[in-house]
Symmetry: C2
Subunit: 360 residues, 2 copies
Amino acid sequence: MRNGSISLKEIIKGIKPADEEWIEKAKERTSQLLMPTRALGRLHDISEKICGICKTLKPSISRKAFLVMAGDHGVVEEGVSAYPQEVTGEMIKTFLNGGAGINVLAGLVNAEVFVVDMGIIPDLDHVSLNGEDHLYIQKVARGTANLSRGPAMTREEAIKSILTGFQLATNLFSKGIDMLGTGDMGIGNTTPSAAIGTVFTETALEEMVGRGTGVDDQGLLKKQKAIQKGIDVNRPDIKDGLDVLSKIGGFEIGGIAGCILSGAYHGRPVVIDGFISTAGALVAHSLCPFVTDYLFAGHCSEETGHRSMLRFLDLEPVLDLGMRLGEGSGGALAMGIIEGAIKIFTDMLTFDQAGVSNKS
Amino acid sequence: MRNGSISLKEIIKGIKPADEEWIEKAKERTSQLLMPTRALGRLHDISEKICGICKTLKPSISRKAFLVMAGDHGVVEEGVSAYPQEVTGEMIKTFLNGGAGINVLAGLVNAEVFVVDMGIIPDLDHVSLNGEDHLYIQKVARGTANLSRGPAMTREEAIKSILTGFQLATNLFSKGIDMLGTGDMGIGNTTPSAAIGTVFTETALEEMVGRGTGVDDQGLLKKQKAIQKGIDVNRPDIKDGLDVLSKIGGFEIGGIAGCILSGAYHGRPVVIDGFISTAGALVAHSLCPFVTDYLFAGHCSEETGHRSMLRFLDLEPVLDLGMRLGEGSGGALAMGIIEGAIKIFTDMLTFDQAGVSNKS
């Protein structure tokens, strides 16, 4: 898995649909398990999808990790967030010290948390955590430009953000990570995400734009206005994912798209979190529609518009608990369910093994 | 927690609503946690409910267990199930040998599995598992009578089934179990459960009765007919939970009701599973409506009518994954989410602790 100098074009060319044959073999095994036909519902769909991704009937996701992608956003000067921009950097420190939501929930499923500075404004010390380096500094730039006045970044920066995510995810997979979760941190990042969601899914702005971390009515109007201006000024071309990402996206969103492409390229499952991760998935999907074969939607966010995004990608969320924190938190909780699905597939006895009578 | 000779009347009298004051204190703590206001949605409701149940801001559910209640049903002679009656006993052996769905999923959340013979037809050997006794033989009788022709059991047997469940759950709580899950096994038991659901929730029979383990159209009609006959013949009084349980219930359903009463009596959270466990909850609720303060609905079953039951009890399911296996499987998966909710509540830093700027 050394892809140090691979181009985006080569990555896209290298992604194939998941293996239908392995999915069929997995369905056959499910039908022999000690229960009424497919009595565990979605758990079977999940385990069979993983068999198709990993091309095995003995999948394991014992080694899990999160890449929490962080970036700052020029558009915050339009008053689109309830929190000051410094919070992006402050939260990264907390991720590294282990006290944030993603640390707690990733800990519960034994997933490691790595943080990536994809382009935040301040400089952070290279902090060592538990004897290992859990922070990657990969600044594409110090925050994006204000998307409501012009492109958020250049096309080259968009490519760089995707390739950075691809490379970091690839490194984790090559170190033996079985399943990757994507997370995000970036004050203001529901604004580019909603912009991306609006253009790709062609959903009305009012339905797509939510309150993010909790803006009031006035903040919501400012946000809608900033996004509308950004779309009008930039005219992103939805047939060109790089164009959309560069004009109305963010560095962490590009990084997430890269992680997703890496999972699909290397045949590893990736669990996306909520609104921002799904914006990354929309970008990846526009570059290569096969990526959804390798994706799990951890949950449906409370953020308005997330459901439309997931529907567009034809992804059914595992959880629906009114969450809207980001960081990867919904993906981490979902990994517990996915692990349950796999254990059922691998560890449950068959009717034959148990010596139990089947349907008469 | 020695309640060896406590009467049902004393149990009901001893159950109080959960503590509103502790719930308020818990909400106050949630508001200080490092995230936008209540950004983890339902997770906060869950952790605060547990604080109200356990009267603490430091709840723990490190020790968890399942009581899987098993019983046989006379009504199977009406052709209401897709599986032969022997499967009840065969499955109990599998639970004790560790290869069934509940074993796999309970193992994932470190919950022990205990099986109770509440009234199955065959005799089972007292099987020792992992050096400890995981089977309780508490036969109320060898299967219920056919509810479509008369009462399923006597009123005394109904009381005995509830008190047995109460006592077994109480023993587990007194041994330090923090959270109890209820499970069920019994070929034919969606039939009494649907009967109970129909009468308590006053839902149309066609909406309440599902295919259980998978009867065909003809089997479904037989099931509806058996239930309608059972209601017509027995005329259960919905103001009297014991009357309903004895006339159209089952021994495992009574046992589950007893577990639920025990949790409420001792101030311990109980996680119910799907259709059969919720029938038990309906019985317990009719005896003492406060029990729902202590209950978590693990999931919404695919079985028709379960949603109506949960709505009647005003319980929001944690998961909704199209499952319909029973055994406690949905409760076990949900325990992972509940554990996440508690860890967030106890382990996440506050804004002050993390030194992160709060809303401006």
